[in-house]
């Protein structure tokens, strides 16, 4: 039982990382990023490219973060900022276009056959008394923890983080104050892509590398974000963890509904609990 929960938390932390990425972009730039999962997939393949050429798997972490920041900046500057006149639907569709580009590019260079991605931290599972913990799971939890601590520091104690939160609160006011909105947006996209990349390389050892391997994770991440109130980073974190644990427990006790469970949950929450468990404001259903 305890093992289930830990495993659930580890899975959940991957959902949280992805969900936070989605929520950051949504609340500050007002774009529903349907490419969050596939961005992680793309970055993971980049890491894989270097790993098969001799890079130590654990160095994939910093590699992915750097690559993600660059990619995020480029995508924002080259694409998103040019689409300022597009409606929310247009922006959403642009992200869907990105998924097609990422999936197609990866398919072309690596094919569609699932590939084995090495564990980032080698070694057998660790025992703590009667509890067995997979090293990968520990890595997920620790990484997520570190990331969220850093993120919370950035959002609450750095100028650019507070500026990001202000833009999420009232973009007009931020503009009036002369806050450099474009720069903050670039920062947010770079950060979110970083989160996507981390989620990707944490998932790859478990699921094996395949152009569509992050699609299901993204779906769960949306559930987590919705559970957390869609506009709240804290909500997304808790949403992911709760979802991860719930899923694992459900999978064990009621295996039949494991997959559909989170899907129906999204719809149920959107309809009946629009602010999720943690959202505070009217998140604007329109």
């Amino acid at each position: 039982m305890f093992n289930l929960i830990i495993r659930g938390l580890a899975t959940g932390s991957i959902y949280s990382l992805t969900a936070v990425g989605i929520v950051l972009i949504l609340s500050t730039t007002n774009v529903m990023n349907f490419a969050q999962g596939d961005t992680g997939m793309f970055l993971t393949y980049i890491a894989f490219f270097f790993i098969v050429r001799g890079l130590t798997p654990s160095l994939a972490l910093p590699l992915v973060i750097v690559a993600a920041a660059i990619l995020g900046y480029l995508v924002y500057k080259g694409l998103i900022s040019r689409a300022k006149e597009s409606s929310y639907m247009g922006m959403m569709i642009i992200t869907l276009g990105l998924t097609m580009i990422f999936e197609g590019t990866v398919s072309t260079f690596f094919g569609n056959i699932p590939l084995l991605f090495p564990p980032l931290v080698p070694g057998d599972p660790v025992r703590f008394g009667s509890v067995i913990l997979d090293r990968q799971d520990i890595l997920c939890l620790v990484t997520a923890l570190v990331v969220f601590v850093i993120l919370s520091f950035v959002l609450y104690r750095t100028k650019i983080g507070i500026a990001a939160r202000s833009i999420a609160d009232d973009e007009y006011a931020a503009r009036v104050l002369g806050i450099p909105i474009d720069r903050v947006h670039s920062f947010i996209w770079a950060t979110s892509f970083g989160l996507a990349g981390l989620a990707g390389i944490m998932t790859a050892p478990r699921l094996s590398l395949h152009p569509l391997f992050m699609v299901v994770v993204q779906l769960k991440a949306f559930t987590a974000a919705v559970l957390g109130g869609m506009n709240s980073v804290t909500g997304a974190i808790w949403g992911g963890l709760i979802l991860g644990v719930m899923e694992n427990l459900v999978a064990y006790y009621v295996p039949a509904i494991k997959e559909s469970f989170s899907l129906f949950l999204i719809v149920a929450i959107l309809l009946f609990l629009p602010n999720g468990l943690f959202g505070s404001r009217e998140a604007g259903r329109s």
């Binding site: 100028k159 007009y172 806050i179 404001r281």
Partner: protein, 237 residues
């Protein structure tokens, strides 16, 4: 220090300001009066860089600022306190204030913050609370305080009395008057509440449908029969 020359601009295809002229000269507080839709807020937005002029120019000291973006204009020392206050509801009072000084160093901001909190002891009391929890009057103080954090030379105040009870309005105007006198900051005050505005200002402009129709010292304006009839009589149309 501020001079607006033949300013024409609008939204989309609609022209809203038609050749507006305004000169601060040595005044401390300049007020722009007019009914809803007169273009007062549009004027402020154009000065602060949110809206771009179609024709004409805006001079701030020696700088032609009409085509600068808001960030640059803010750095030059113009602070915009928007209509409707627009404080950040989910950020604390302290965070709201610090954002006002975004372009200044942390040390400078710390000093200015202490000073602003002295000016507005009310904000000091509520420093850790979220902006959304403040009352209307408190939010207006916060918005003004936030504007002051930039240590501006010119403060653009857009309808500070909007939606506030009369007592609070008096307080706000008192505060603005004190600020202009003691803080070495000029104020461009846009208002529907003509009486109070003329009370504290030195020069006034009256706008109707995007044009300046009348200007003069506030004294002259408050004695002007047309102004009295339309703006000081009882109801602001």
């Amino acid at each position: 220090m501020l001079r607006v020359i033949d300013l024409t601009t609008g939204y989309g295809p609609v022209e809203v300001l038609h050749e507006v002229n305004l000169d601060f000269e040595d005044a401390n507080i300049v007020t722009v009066l007019g009914a809803n839709g007169a273009g007062k807020s549009t004027l402020i937005r154009t000065v602060s860089g949110i809206l771009k002029p179609w024709k004409g120019s805006i001079l701030f000291g020696d700088n032609e600022i009409s085509h600068m973006d808001t960030s640059q204009i803010a750095k030059l020392g113009i602070a915009h306190v928007p209509e409707g206050r627009h404080i950040f509801p989910n950020l604390t009072v302290k965070e709201n204030l610090l954002l006002g000084g975004y372009f200044r160093t942390d040390d400078e901001n710390k000093e200015t913050l202490d000073h602003v909190l002295e000016l507005f002891p009310l904000l000091k009391e509520r420093i850790g609370q979220k902006g959304g929890n403040l009352s209307g009057g408190e939010q207006q103080m916060l918005a003004i305080g936030r504007g002051l954090m930039a240590k501006p030379r010119l403060l653009l105040l857009d309808e500070p009395s909007l939606g506030l009870a009369p007592i609070l309005v008096s307080e706000i105007f008192e505060t603005v008057k004190r600020l202009a006198q003691h803080e070495k900051v000029q104020v461009l005050l846009v208002e529907q509440n003509a009486r109070k505005a003329l009370d504290i200002s030195d020069i006034g402009y009256v706008m109707v449908l995007g044009r300046v129709v009348l200007s003069g010292t506030s004294d002259e304006l408050s004695k002007n029969p047309e102004v009295r009839k339309l703006y000081l009589g009882g109801q602001n149309v």
